[in-house]
């Protein structure tokens, strides 16, 4: 039987497409992931044990070394993925993405070395695939590592004047160096090749460093599609359709996902990349109606309010994730339900640091999936709600998004919490949210502020409700 490799690659490609399709629906998502993983297994078996168009089993050369590397990668990857906290998921995804980028860059590096003397006669397509894989892989690797560092708090923001201008110059420089390299390669001159790597790495740094933390998910998604394209370059180089399909699929799906995520935040991709809001320095002035007084409330009052309410809606935000308060909030929900109070969660599409972040967190603490209500469906319900409990969310409940055209978040759909009878905001301090703008809601007469760490405040509420 010939063509075993081709059949395995075909099954692999099919697994990716079908798997990704299934991942788009909540019911089949987990199976879809498995289908894609099985597809990957087929593809790996295909490259390890069979040869293109040849009869029988041909184990790849250096099989010992390859197996050892796969073993190490599997063990480390498994442990990292299993041990990571749910709140740290975004940076973990970014880190794995960076590994893929590095892999693509290393392939190009070796392939360039192997070509050796035949470089001068290399078809343009091959050169393009190698050099593009190198550039995109390097940018994706360095960028993802920076994103990982920023999300896990190891790196801060870093801005400098004229950064867009410098970035464009850098891009041109990379293309220029790649062009020069094509000419220089024939003389065995590696200078430009290394220059391309260095420039791409610096570009990766400059590209991600200035982008604010709130926009990081978008950047990770974008880098994700970059790595897809880098993988596709490898597929082009080797005429390997499973790599090509998988890579292009992720490249295009990732780009669309990036755009959809931007839309959910009502930001354009250009805005994110230029960093119009992201940081704190830009938007600070648009406070407008700040001042006025806020009403501070005590846990006891809030507990009474909730216990005798008909309906309570919880609005979770990043503060809940940071404080690891998802379990306490579930406990509170249980207590209130036992008192006959209807409890629901209002999930804003971009609450937390990435879309779906809140769903994942709350699901972790066993909150039933039906209680998590998406924005469009929960908004009409606020009018019949007695108490809204805003836990560590800010920008997603800021009425300025509807009322103040000068606000940087103007036009972003928000949760209409001010329609409820009472709004209680759990917050550490009066500090602004990620967008760096004042929130008029806090000065609303319906609104009470319960200051403190989200988890501690919720714990107090739980205790109060219990003792009442």
């Amino acid at each position: 039987m010939r063509h075993f490799q081709e059949v395995l690659f075909l099954l692999g490609s099919l697994g990716f497409v079908v798997g990704l399709k299934m991942m788009g629906k909540p019911d089949s998502a987990r199976k879809g992931n498995l289908v894609a993983a099985v597809g990957m297994l087929f593809a790996v078996l295909g490259i390890m044990f069979f040869k293109h168009g040849e009869e029988g089993i041909h184990v790849v050369n250096n099989v010992g070394l390859i197996s050892a590397a796969i073993g190490v990668g599997t063990l480390v990857g498994w442990l990292m993925a299993k041990r990571v906290q749910m709140t740290a998921m975004p940076e973990m995804v970014s880190l794995f993405n960076g590994m893929g980028g590095l892999c693509a860059a290393l392939i190009s590096l070796l392939e360039w070395k192997f070509k050796g003397d035949s470089i001068a006669t290399m078809p343009a397509g091959e050169y393009l695939a190698i050099i593009a894989g190198l550039i995109i892989g390097t940018v994706s690797f360095v960028g993802s590592i920076v994103a990982w560092g920023k999300l896990s708090g190891k790196l801060g923001d870093f801005r400098f004047p004229g950064q867009q201008f410098i970035n464009i110059i850098m891009l041109l420089a990379i293309v220029g160096a790649a062009w020069m390299n094509f000419g220089a390669a024939a003389d065995n001159n590696m200078l430009y090749f290394y220059l391309v790597i260095v420039l791409a790495a610096v570009y990766g740094l400059l590209f991600v460093f200035p982008i604010g933390g709130a926009d990081m998910p978008v950047v990770i998604s974008l880098l994700n599609s970059f790595t897809g394209v880098a993988a596709a370059c490898g597929g082009f180089l080797y005429h390997n359709n499973v790599m090509l399909m998988g890579g292009v699929l992720v490249g295009s799906a990732g780009t669309i996902l990036t755009i959809v995520m931007c839309k959910a935040m009502n930001r354009s991709l250009t805005n994110v990349l230029i960093g119009a809001v992201g940081g704190s320095s830009v938007a600070a002035s648009s406070g407008g109606k700040s001042g006025g007084s806020v009403r501070e409330v005590q846990a006891t009052d809030v507990a009474i309010l909730m216990k005798y309410a008909q309906k309570v809606i919880v609005v979770p935000g990043y503060g809940l994730a940071v404080a690891q308060a998802q379990h306490v909030v579930h406990e509170l929900e249980g207590l209130l339900e036992a008192e006959g109070v209807e409890v629901k969660y209002a999930i804003h599409p971009v609450a937390g640091r990435m879309p779906g972040h809140m769903n994942v967190l709350l699901a972790e603490s066993n909150v039933s999936y039906d209680k998590l209500v998406e924005m469009e469906h929960i908004n009409p319900e606020f009018a019949t709600t007695d108490v809204v409990l805003v836990v560590g969310a800010n920008d997603v409940v800021n009425p300025a998004a509807k009322t103040d055209p000068s606000s940087p978040i103007y036009g972003m759909p928000i949760l209409d919490v001010e329609n409820a009878k009472q709004v209680i905001v759990l917050k550490r301090s009066m500090k602004s949210g990620y967008a760096g703008i004042e929130n008029e809601l806090f000065y609303n007469s319906k609104c009470g502020m319960l200051f403190g760490d989200a988890k501690e405040s919720l714990q107090k509420l739980v205790n109060e409700v219990k003792t009442l």
Binding site: G19, L20, G24, N61, M89, V260, A363
Partner: protein, 108 residues
């Protein structure tokens, strides 16, 4: 000009494939509830780990006495595997939480 036409001519089937896959990718992601954005991103992240195939191929073609290439290829396969395994396991952990837990949420 010749260069471009030659390039297209030599790679025509792959170019067709790229164009089609771009649209498949767009179709697949176009209408997904925002709840699934994060797991999807993570799942897509695992899929581009297919770059591992390239790393295995290139390490398989390194000469036995070419230590530099063997080391670079070895690292390549490790990080590629990290991408694949880590990506799929993280995605599975995320999606595991979406399964319904009957009764549990209401009582407790």
């Amino acid at each position: 000009m010749d260069l471009i036409f030659n390039f297209i001519g030599e790679n025509i089937s792959m170019i067709y494939l790229v164009i089609l896959m771009v649209f498949v990718g767009i179709e697949l992601i176009g209408h997904v509830p925002s709840v699934l954005h994060t797991p999807l991103m993570s799942g897509a992240n695992a899929i581009h780990g297919v770059v591992l195939i390239g790393a295995i191929y290139v390490l398989g073609h390194a000469e036995e006495n070419d230590t530099f290439s063997l080391i670079v290829g070895f690292i390549g396969v490790i990080v590629g595997t990290l991408n694949v395994i880590g990506g799929f396991v993280v995605t599975d952990r995320m999606l595991e939480m979406f399964k319904k837990k009957p009764g549990k949420g209401a009582k407790s």
